[in-house]
Symmetry: C2
Amino acid sequence: MIEIERKFLIKSDAYKKECPAGIRIQQGFLSTDPLRTVRIRLKGDKGFITVKGKSNISGTSRFEWEREIPKNEAEQLLKLCLPGMIDKIRYEVKTGNFVFEVDEFLGENKGLVIAEIELSSEEEDFPRPDWLGEEVTGQTKYYNSQLSKLPFGKW
Amino acid sequence: MIEIERKFLIKSDAYKKECPAGIRIQQGFLSTDPLRTVRIRLKGDKGFITVKGKSNISGTSRFEWEREIPKNEAEQLLKLCLPGMIDKIRYEVKTGNFVFEVDEFLGENKGLVIAEIELSSEEEDFPRPDWLGEEVTGQTKYYNSQLSKLPFGKW
């Protein structure tokens, strides 16, 4: 239930050459408190409810609890969410034994693209493809919960 | 997913004559926003995550979504909750074809007892046992989410 992730900007869209079509993700938040974030997500035909806790100091690891739920229930719960829906296309980019999840944001966050990689330990080494840009792990303004309140278009 | 409930104080503890032993409930909140309350509950050996939406004007009906989750996951999620755990004993009091859920609060809410009945419509008639007291439906100070912030002992 502890997720270890690192987050990067990108230098180019070369990642698209290496992966299948993206999947649309729409999500909202019942709580954007960084100590107890509650997210409702629609991803293709699936729904999810996710709770995230406090990050460690580097922002690399964070408690995360998730359950898949029926799509129609996720749709109902999305209606209860705070203003500021996140809308994005996710590409899953296989790189060696790893997968980068690359999110192209839409709507008020259009122009922002973030690549995330999940690791099994804080020290684990991982590939750095040419398109990978500056690391932004732990910068809370890049949290989706914070982007829902202060979108990239307003930075 | 719309719950219709009415809530009452009690006049005496005569309800205890009519029901089996109570079950301990401990619960905390990831959000106490009345428009999108998120509750984590431990009830005996079971865990639950519940989302509640806005009430109608009378406070009788409210959107409610709930999933049972493993007890150990509920215990983990309780650690993330806002300060102000709710601790109570619940008695299920069968009355005709209805069940009153009577909650005896502990801790900072000790002294407060609330009886709730779930109805299938706003107009549905229901029994009024002798021990049933004043109706408090729709008074937000009696919401568990609000009792977690301003407990009965501080009123």
